[in-house]
């Protein structure tokens, strides 16, 4: 292809830009609950986010990347014109990134996932044809946007109910917290490891059977639990703090738990959202390399790495400010609730990541917060804001789509040399 190097360069640049945007804005929502409930300081949150976003993106980001890359568009429609797909993917990336930048400037509740999916579908419909879209797959994705907040809401509801039953409504909640909190920590380590093992690690040379994965997950759960138990032992119980609010010391123990769920949340977010940046890059790279539109080919590890680095860069250059802002505004959430919301959301997101479904981490988290709220756990939830967030995709999908179409024709005008269709 004539402009191969250009295409690769642009893909890498746009992908990095998009990943940067995700790290700068999106990560904040995943981390802010931990900062707001004071389970983590800003510095700790950034460290946790950097390490686990990277790990999630690199280890478990493959499935969703595959969906974004070749699960939405039927590439056989452009067999004779692979360049069209290149323009489209570049345009989609640029459109989603620009839209996100604009939206986060304005404080609009916009999801990266909705932007990129809207952008890809948009350019495909206008640039290639309505039939080039796998509508059933898009339907599944759209359905997952409705199901994922509901599922995480259900999970959060039951997790929080179990906390009430097992710990908070007991005569000596402190004793019961020491007893049961390690089990929740086990669940965090176990679930994250299991989903990752079952779906991910072929690209780093680990191919395990189901039973082996299960064993690794159990070991990982026990390892996390042991760290948790040590951390809980180190907590200083201060009886004087009890006078004003009798659960202050119990919340300290939940604070330990929330450090772990924060790690899980960052991991889950990385595993699902890195695809929004690197999926299109992967598509461009494989077309440029092979010259044809390959439906199935291995994902180059460096592309996932690019996305992971981009996210951490965004976090380091701008994201920490956003985390601080958002965290400061969440003052009503205590660790016993925050953890339930995070565990539910992280579990839902990693399951989606394992299944290859691109979902919105923020929506999932909002669903989880509502779930805790329905269990009478949260002082006040602003339903109007919840509704606005949940309905934001009605604007985001067409906005991403229209921008993508514009960029598509722009790129086509600059580079296209193939037959006129």
């Amino acid at each position: 292809m004539e402009f191969s190097l250009w295409y690769l360069g642009l893909a890498a640049a746009f992908g990095l830009f998009m990943a940067w945007g995700i790290g700068a804005n999106d990560v904040a929502n995943a981390m802010a609950t931990s900062v707001g409930s004071k389970a983590l300081t800003i510095k700790q949150a950034i460290l946790v986010a950097a390490v686990f976003e990277f790990a999630g993106a690199f280890l478990a980001g493959g499935q969703v990347t595959a969906t974004i890359r070749n699960g939405i568009i039927d590439a056989s429609a452009v067999e004779n014109n692979p360049e069209l797909l290149i323009f489209g993917m570049l345009a989609a990336l640029l459109a989603a990134a620009v839209w996100l930048l604009l939206a986060s400037r304005k404080g609009w509740p916009v999801s990266t996932t909705h932007s990129i999916v809207g952008a890809i579908v948009g350019f495909a419909v206008v640039g290639i044809g309505v039939d080039s879209v796998y509508w059933s797959k898009v339907g599944t994705i759209a359905a997952s946007w409705v199901v994922s907040p509901m599922l995480s809401g259900f999970l959060a509801f039951f997790i929080f109910m179990s906390v009430q039953k097992l710990i908070l409504s007991k005569k000596d909640p402190l004793k019961h917290a020491r007893k049961y909190v390690p089990l929740y920590i086990f669940a965090v380590g176990f679930i994250m490891a299991l989903v990752t093992m079952l779906k991910g690690l072929k690209h780093i040379g680990l191919d395990l059977t189901y039973l082996q994965s299960l064993m690794v997950a159990i070991v990982s759960g026990i390892a996390t639990m042991s760290i948790g138990i040590i951390a809980i032992r180190r907590i200083k119980i201060d009886p004087r703090q009890q006078s004003d609010f009798r659960f202050a010391n119990v919340e300290k123990i939940f604070g330990v738990l929330m450090v772990f769920t924060a790690c899980g949340m960052a991991f889950a977010h990385g595993s699902n959202d890195v695809a929004n940046a690197v999926g299109p890059v992967a598509a461009v790279v494989s077309i440029v390399k092979t010259g044809v539109v390959a439906q199935k080919s291995a994902l180059a590890t460096w592309i996932l790495l690019l996305g992971a680095i981009g996210i951490v860069l965004g976090l380091a250059t701008y994201g920490f400010k956003v985390i601080r802002t958002v965290g400061k505004n969440i003052t009503e959430l205590t660790p016993s609730r925050g953890f339930a919301a995070e565990l539910a959301a992280a579990t839902t997101v990693v399951i989606a990541s394992g299944t290859g479904l691109p979902i919105s981490t923020t929506h999932t988290l909002v669903g989880a917060v509502l779930g805790v709220g329905i269990a009478r756990g949260i002082g006040a939830i602003n339903l109007r804001v919840v509704r606005n967030i949940m309905l934001s995709w009605i604007i985001t999908l067409p906005a991403g789509g229209i921008l993508a179409v514009l960029f598509f024709f722009l790129l086509k005008g600059i580079f296209y040399s193939g037959p006129i269709v």
Partner: protein, 225 residues
């Protein structure tokens, strides 16, 4: 501000403002102790001073009440019913209103409490403030109630506090009856208009305990949901 939309889903819980309001009410009502002392000693300067304090604190509580009302849009989703919060707030507000009534009546007419009534009247004031303290303690449990998700142990605890509030309120009722009986015996020796107002003062003072108890009843309704 970028990213701030997510934090906006967490509205401000009405619990702490509600507790602050009740704290202000308690402080206002407690001012009746030095006020009554001044009345019985005939120290008009101190009376005026404490009356002013009561009025000021009542106004401050009023401001807190309005603030909280403004902060409770109907789109808030809360573990306690919005209507219950507003009703508790109104009840709390009325407690301070009674305290102001009493101080206002006595100051306005430069009234004296007849010596035979003094002891029981002081007792009534003390028990009324006790009732407010008890109501305050119960309202202070609201954050613990929400923390436990209205857990069984915590409900029991609040239930005990409310039972004690009822007992205190009964005390104030009995003290009122005693005071009326004593006043009845004195009627012929006093100026009729003064007698009329003394009955009124006893009545208004009794209101304080009644209304404090009603704060508790609204809280009980929250538990029952």
């Amino acid at each position: 501000m970028s990213g701030s939309y997510f934090s906006a889903i967490f509205g401000q819980s009405p619990v702490r403002p509600l507790q602050e309001h009740m704290g202000k009410i308690l402080a206002c009502v407690s001012e009746l102790t030095p006020f009554t002392k001044a009345v019985l000693e005939g120290d008009t300067g101190a009376m005026a001073r404490h009356h002013k304090n009561i009025v000021n604190m009542e106004n401050e509580a009023d401001a807190l009440k309005k603030q909280l009302r403004m902060r409770l849009p109907s789109t808030l989703f809360m573990p306690i019913d919005r209507r219950d919060v507003l009703e508790v707030l109104t009840m709390q507000d009325m407690v301070a209103g009674s305290a102001r009534d009493v101080a206002g009546l006595i100051t306005g007419r430069a009234m004296q409490i007849p010596e035979p009534l003094a002891k029981d009247y002081k007792k009534l004031i003390k028990r009324s403030i006790d009732a407010c303290q008890q109501a305050y303690d119960s309202i202070s449990e609201l954050d613990e109630l929400i923390e436990t998700g209205f857990g069984k142990e915590e409900r029991k605890r609040v239930g005990r506090l409310l039972m004690k509030l009822d007992v205190i309120e009964q005390d104030t009722d009995e003290l009122q009856v005693c005071l009326r009986n004593e006043l009845f015996k004195l009627e012929n020796e006093l100026h009729p208009v003064n007698v009329m107002f003394l009955y009124k003062i006893i009545d208004r003072t009794g209101n304080i305990g009644d209304r404090a108890q009603r704060v508790g009843s609204r809280l009980q309704l929250m538990l029952a949901r």
